[in-house]
Symmetry: C2
Subunit: 462 residues, 2 copies
């Protein structure tokens, strides 16, 4: 777990602010839930591996000695949302559109870029099965990443029912579906040949295994075909992606054939993809039948956003129409997407995507202290500045100290201006204003100092 | 522990934003620490009662069965700050001015206005003994409360060394000082006579007990004297407070007499009080020798902010010059102040101090869906609005549904405008714009809709 010192935190706050503002523009509202949930709320929702990664909190008081745990730390933001929907029911809007940006905790072995406390930025719509939701989620996530400066992300799109249909059409027995998906989920990391081996190890027999993998071989061919046409000068990059996507959807229809759920899945996938055209983001979307996503609660469309220089994803999500029902007993559809704050920050830091001056300075101006006798006057001047120019961040050196030390302190904190009020300046109703970047110093009327500083710093007279 | 639904959360975010902006204007920088600390970091820092209120987290893996805890939930923001200062040492500025607004957890019995998860808004300066810090903290807290609309708060000011000097001068033996302070701390709640009884029960003997309490009787008289002069038409309310404060400081000097630490304490108290004049807040300050504050780690000035209609305080703090040393082994002075977010919200809610329209609406406009065939066109129009007017919050109804239902949904979420694009409007390149407050509907050119909505909502053409 990490401390966030000011410079780190300002970067994090910048990313969170951009994401929040984007979600607000899509009509999402904020929700926060407690860090601690009843342990039964969390257990059994994340699979066996998940159960083991939940931080458990000891019962208090006399029960503490028993070693029993009754509470646990939040593991994700989806299960708490499902609990909230079940708990507040009718008091929530018919379509509950919420975003939630809060930390979650997992007792994972810490590794590079993986922490035991990390933030999730979730956005979900509860209460409708409409594919409009999937499209809005893609558009919102895309807008947020674009606003942060990302230009090269891909939204991968698949569907759980398509996967099920593909597995059935390939002849993989139902009791091997989960195994096959676990193997498929590793395609990015281990490649085609190793996935085939893993399928074999997990007992997915030939010819089902071969037929199943044949689909992905076929997809790779479709991609090469689209590239070939593009290379021939026929298509730009966006059209190339579109050509591939249309071909991929066609191939999926063929593959699932008469499998009803599979065909319905392809239809939904096609609808989401069509909708993304209206937002101008269809060129970012890639139909990817190999996308599996680990979590077991997804029931429909699944999606993931990737950039070339990051092994994992920047975010992911999908439709989970049964999870809320586990709490409320009622069948309430839902679909959501989660952006990974830590990964976004990792990539933005490596690519130097943060605005240049973000949080470099701790304040705009430091009021120095001339001597023990003038402390009160320096405080009065700081108060004047803060009153007259509310946008100025005004620091006061707390002690009467050598002026050089006070300047050095201002420099170290990135403060661009210092004010000195010596006995002469005070007598004349003036202050000395020093620009620490240029080293230039000038004497200005004390009454004008706030306006002058505002203009220098913010280009206006406050 | 509580969920914060959108309307609650917007109120909380408003208060947090005002506090953050105020602290930033004083040159404070943000810090965040993990929710979870090593259990040894927290144990023994909050007294025996505090130890029992710490939420403890089970060791993971095979150790889970032993019932042993190695981590614990953050109990306040001061101890984590002390750990950070010890841990990062030289990498922090010479004077580390940080604010931190994060939740803390206490295994308290929940009661009205008391929660097991609650937010603290802390602001501290580490690295100097200067009384400038106490004055800046008073000014910053005062500015924050004023910006939130508070007009009637009092900053109570006392000093731990003054308390020690008073106790010694009264002849209370050193081993009874802690008992005497516990009794004194209850003055607000149980009154003068009961404090005297409690002193007796706790073994503080006569005449020390009587002499000690005599000071507070004397203070009450000073106050009546100031009121009397004021009532006589001689003083306004601020001057009355000043008259009392000066008299109180004089009385303390007399009372502690030759007690060196006590006399130094009164000097420091006087200096802080004098400094507050430069910020124009001296009229809010009240020298209160009966203020004790529970926490044991305070070493110098202590302060608390109260309003008449709240039994507890809106915030409190003080100087703690030894706490950081418990972690770093080095003697590092520090002083801080904590605003209680929950209590501020309680009072602001009761007094209806929140801005009227805060978060009433979930979006500025809802784009409706005419029929199944026009979904794509509605999405395209929503995308246009968001692109052309980034300040607009645009929601889309996710399903083709009866128009009346879509209007009702918008009303329920407080959305002021809905847009309808029927077949006729679409054919003419227009949209119908309905103001849900007035019920008026007009037809406007689709290309102008973003500008018209921006002007209606924000008074500009975006």
């Amino acid at each position: 777990m990490r401390d966030f010192l000011p410079a780190d935190l300002r970067r994090r706050e910048y990313v969170v602010r951009v994401i929040k503002e984007t979600y607000e523009r899509y009509g999402f509202e904020p929700l926060e839930t407690p860090a601690v949930e009843n342990i039964e709320t969390l257990l059994g929702k994340y699979g066996e591996e998940g159960n083991q990664l939940i931080f458990k909190i000891l019962k208090r008081g006399e029960h503490e000695k028993t070693g029993e745990a009754d509470l646990a730390l939040r593991y994700d933001l989806t299960v708490p949302l499902a609990r909230v929907v079940a708990e507040y029911g009718e008091r929530l809007p018919k379509f509950f559109k919420r975003y939630q940006i809060q930390p979650v905790w997992r007792a994972d072995r810490p590794a590079r870029g993986r922490f035991r406390e990390f933030y999730q930025c979730d956005v979900d719509v509860v209460g409708t099965r409409s594919a409009v939701v999937e499209a809005e989620l893609c558009a919102a996530a895309s807008d947020a990443l674009t606003a942060l400066g990302f230009r090269d992300f891909t939204i991968r799109l698949n569907h759980r029912q398509v996967l099920a249909g593909v597995l059935e059409a390939a002849g993989v027995p139902v009791d091997k579906h989960a195994d096959a998906l676990v193997a498929l989920d590793k395609m990015d990391k281990i490649g085609f040949a190793e996935v085939l081996n893993e399928l074999s190890r997990r007992g997915v027999a030939h010819p089902a295994r071969t037929k199943f993998m044949g689909l992905f071989e076929g997809m790779a061919e479709l991609e090469h075909a689209a590239e070939f046409v593009a290379g021939d000068g026929g298509l730009n990059e966006v059209s190339q992606t579109e050509a591939y996507n249309h071909a991929a959807l066609g191939r999926l229809v063929e593959f699932v054939g008469g499998n009803e759920a599979g065909a319905r899945g392809v239809d939904e996938l096609r609808r989401v993809y069509e909708y993304t055209h209206e937002y101008g983001i269809a060129g970012r979307v890639r139909i990817d039948p190999s996308l599996a996503r680990g979590l077991s609660y997804y029931t429909g469309a699944i999606l993931e956003i990737n950039v070339p220089d990051l092994a994992g994803s920047l975010g992911g999500g999908g439709r989970y129409d049964n999870l809320v029902g586990m709490f409320s007993g009622k069948d309430i559809p839902a679909c959501g997407f989660s952006l990974g704050l830590e990964r976004i920050i990792v990539v933005m830091t490596e690519r130097e995507m943060f605005p240049k001056d973000l949080g470099r300075a701790a304040a705009d101006v430091l009021v120095t202290i001339w001597n023990e006798e003038s402390v009160r006057d320096s405080l009065a001047f700081a108060a004047e500045l803060r009153r007259e120019a509310p946008a100025l961040r005004v620091d006061v050196y707390p002690e009467a100290d050598k002026l050089g030390k006070q300047f050095k302190y201002a420099s170290a904190r990135g403060v661009p201006y210092v004010v000195v009020i010596g006995d002469d300046e005070r007598a004349r109703g003036e202050v000395a204003l020093k620009d620490l970047k240029t080293g230039e110093q000038e004497t200005v009327a004390r009454a004008h100092a706030a306006a002058i500083l505002s203009e220098r710093l913010h280009g206006n007279k406050s």
